[in-house]
Amino acid sequence: MAVAKEIRTKIKSIQNTRKITKAMEMVAASKMRRAQEAMENTRPYAAKMLEVVQHLTNAHPEYRHPFMVERPVKRVGLIVVTTDRGLCGGLNVNLLKMALNEIRDYTEKGVEVEVCAIGAKSRGFFKRFGGNILASVTHLGDRPTYAKVRGVTNAMFKAYDEGQIDRIVLLRNEFVNSMVQRPQSRQLVPLVLERDERLGHRWDYIYEPDSRDVLDAVLRRYVAGLVLQSTVENVACEMAARRIAMKNATDNAGEIIKELKLVYNKARQAAITQEISEIVSGAAAVG
């Protein structure tokens, strides 16, 4: 019965794995709900900021902020937002693949790329890949806060201000729904804005203390807000992806257990049959 025992151990071990994946699935499902809520909650901030920024482009500010001026691109800063942990299906892989494609495109055009890695997976990947990491932050947790992403966004802004990079692009996962998450690339700086035609008339604001300071604060906040939002959204994506991945793993474990049980029973049956035939033939020989 040596074979049967081996199979039994195997079944046991897969059952344990299934327990773990099942638990992870449930944890991810409950966390996803919370993460989704958090994601919805950050939307008003970004929406209001966008409104203000749109008004700004409609108005006639006497001062053109560097964030609004396109300049020849020699170096690009890519902000790549991934999760800290794995076991979430193809979420990070898809995004990093997209990042690689972008990097290749830029390199072909003779543009250098600097990376700002958010999340351990992103940082680890670019360290191995040999990307030029300008700034990185990991372990944002399930509730990323402004304080945690401020450091890296400020580093990117500084590099932009100093002319080290001429464009900032954000690569992130978009939460389409709980089944679908899509990698997305978006240029943050200089701002890409369309003139809102509904706001037909133009005006200029009174700026307090002065247009330079206020515009600077508005635009930086807007961009940093977008980065924060993408990290919050990424948590929702992570949980959703993990839930699906773990559900598949649980299902697969079930399948394997079923197959192994069949093999096990066959082996057991064969052993019994063999034993009986041995007894019968033994008895016949004696009789």
Binding site: T42, Y45, H55, L56, Y146, Y205, E208, P209, D213
Partner: protein
């Protein structure tokens, strides 16, 4: 009916207030501004402090806001703050604990400053924000309306 302006107070993680008001008082970098409907377009930096919204019925709702942006149009007032709090949020906060935290932060900043490794601006903003928050909660507890820095 009195003329009203629309007021939105939004922090980074939620909307605190969205409704109409006859008068809004907002702390900005250059001082406190009072906004009535038909105010001219204004864009200003917020400073930590108290926002007071007067509704049509004359009721005053108080909020605490951190750093952020104030945008004013004739019938819209938008307050976008990095950090904000409604009166209800202040109830569960332990003043002494907050005070201790601030003191700890203060000494941390001082020690970092001595080492010369401090992003002074962001550290200062965190401290100012914390101190104002504490002041606001204290003023709420003591029941005074409209205490200023």
């Amino acid at each position: 009916m009195a003329m009203t302006t629309r007021v939105d107070i939004v922090s980074i993680d939620r909307t605190l207030y969205s409704g109409s008001a006859t008068f809004v008082s907002v702390p900005t970098q250059m001082g406190e501004v009072g906004l009535t409907p038909l105010h001219t377009q204004l864009l200003a930096n917020l400073r930590p402090g108290e926002v007071r919204v007067t509704s049509e019925t004359g009721e005053i709702t108080r909020f605490y806001v951190g750093f952020g942006i104030l945008e004013v149009q004739p019938f819209v007032v938008t307050i976008v703050a990095d950090w904000a709090m409604a009166e209800g949020d202040a109830e569960g906060i332990d003043i002494e604990k907050l005070q201790k935290e601030l003191e700890a932060e203060d000494s941390y900043v001082a020690s970092r400053e001595q080492l010369g490794v401090l992003d002074f601006e962001s550290a200062q903003s965190v401290l100012i924000e914390g101190a104002e928050r504490l002041k606001w909660i204290q003023s709420l507890r003591s029941g005074r309306v409209g205490s200023r820095h």
